[in-house]
Subunit: 198 residues, 4 copies
DNA sequence: AATGAATGAGGATTCATTCAT
DNA sequence: GATGAATGAATCCTCATTCAT
């Protein structure tokens, strides 16, 4: 058994275990012991590496958001047209990595956590802003440069539609279908653009 | 001091206190003592009336949903056309009674609670179904009787948009604007209907 | 079993138990559970009444100091001459209530606690000042009104001698003899006064 | 990096770190990790060299007492008369090496430790006895060979006065003045001897 | 109807200590 | 010689819940 360089391994295991446990229980009422046990270590070690429960939650949240962020960036790389960009962003939200039951459950719980924990709120806000500006960036060329307010409004609505899709799946037992969610949001975007004459 | 007929008064006080406390704290990590204190009684009495914390939460949830249900029903009374019906349903969601910070916070928390508490999930499911069928009922005449699947899809999307509006406001410090939320959802519905040629 | 008005009873029991346990163990490494057990209740109740371990310690310290303060006041009542006053103060320190092994042990531990806990330090400082000014008050008429500095110095030395007597007894197994301690301090005071021509 | 002969260096570093940490915190609630960190090594190594926390404390105590012992011996070398001897012993107590805030704090804490740890008590007792017999040795020629009991009593009182001076300084923020402490104890001794006609 | 009293169960966190490398 | 890794055992504190009055 190797005894050096365990830190990143342990941290990753704990982050994954945290998401799994939150997904399993369906709430943040998860003990450090449960998390540590699932990650295959003692709760003392979890504290040793993260300092406390809050930090563990924060790390798990950061992980989810960074995986998501990476997917968005990757998706944007292949986008040629503004329309492609918007579509890529939307698709990234419902990709396999994000749109799994346990991740959806964790995501919803982190939303709640952000209401009471400053660090979590900051994290979430950053990602919301990024999503928003990415969307606006894609929408402006389509709507016309002078329709800035409209781009912001539409970006808000798309973001709401994405969040809405997530939350709708948080309570379903069935395996969430990223395909259908994507289709609905894209359908929605098309209708909005068409209604605006684009 | 009257000692009789206190029950409904106490229950109501506790339900309101529960929503307030959840709103204040921003999570379900609210103690029975906190709730009872805000309601002006001992925690023992809270237990006496509700039997336990879960029941208190359930009652608060039921209260929120029933106020909401009443508003939908009231709104539907004045609706003449199918379009009116859809609009009425949407408006009801963002009416003053529902769309207050503490209620939004509580609502989000109850969504989470539904992931781990059967009674809560049932309650929520009932209301989601009701919203869905109300929407379908309004949409079918507009979309045409043979577009049933389309009506279901659109109802889903509208519901998602509504949820999305709620969740977007859960983290904002500003007083939520029911007006703007309503406008966005209606804008969205119009676009969808227009895109479908209605 | 009476179920009302328990608070003062419980608090007193806890304070006594705290002193006993500190005396028994000989250090502040005493758990709330140990204290509570000796006081005949659950540790949860101890927390309920005091809020935390620090408050329990503080209450015990306050108790010791206030018993001591009362003894000083009582002793001063019967003092006619300045010399009587000084002697009364000294005697009060070694009276039965204070000069018991467990109280001596607790006293020493509280001295240490005062190095790290602000509340404890304040408490102790107040009593040190009171002792000092009581002594000065008694000494000035004896030493002459213009020998103020001398009175302060002598008061310091008497206080040191008293503390020294306590600490010397903190490690002895034998039952401490208040009589001998008193005699030594008085002998010391007499010598000091005599040396100064009084 | 030399890997041999580290032991004495490490031990000394740990002993000093222990005294510093106890002085800093003001109590024995100091973790081995804190001590080791200040000594510039891992806590595992501290255990390796001392076997356990108790041994570390004991070593630190032994260090303080042996420095003190050396100072007494050195002071006694230059003493010609019995009076000189007594004075030398007293001066040694308040010399720079001992009478520093952190050492005073540690000393007080070790006094407490002696109440619960046998090894510590033995150590302390040995030094108390040595101080006592040194004092008696100096006092007997002064008081007269037949005043043995008186010599013992006076030695006790001097020891108490010294301890009292230490404890009085344990709570002060100001830098302790060895000069003033020495002066007071000597003043006290002079008065006692004078009162006895010497 | 109402509450102060009381507790068992549990959870976050700390820490001395051990061990493999 | 030296340390990061790891944990069991505690300890403080909280809280839902019960009960006697």
């Amino acid at each position: 058994m190797p005894k050096v360089g365990m830190e990143p391994i342990r941290r990753e295991a704990l982050v994954n275990a945290t998401i799994s446990e939150i997904g399993r229980v369906g709430s943040l009422d998860v003990t450090v012991s449960q998390i540590a046990k699932r990650a295959g270590m003692s709760s003392a070690l979890a504290h040793h590496y993260f300092g406390g429960k809050d930090q563990i939650f924060l790390a798990a949240m950061r992980h989810i958001l960074s995986v998501y962020g990476a997917q968005v960036r990757a998706a944007l790389l292949g986008a040629k047209t503004p329309r492609d960009r918007v579509e890529a962003i939307i698709r990234a939200n419902f990709e396999a990595g994000n749109f799994r039951p346990e991740v959806i459950a964790a995501w919803l719980n982190f939303y709640v956590l952000s209401q009471s924990m400053d660090g979590a709120r900051r994290l979430l806000t950053v990602y919301q802003h990024r999503l928003h500006s990415n969307l606006v960036h894609g929408l402006r060329p389509i709507l016309g440069e002078d329709a800035l307010q409209d781009a912001h409004d539409l970006a808000d609505m798309i973001a709401a539609q994405i969040d809405g899709q997530f939350i709708r799946h948080a309570l379903r037992e069935e395996t969430p279908s990223g395909k259908r969610a994507t289709a609905q949001v894209l359908d929605f975007v098309d209708a909005m653009l068409k209604a605006r004459g684009n």
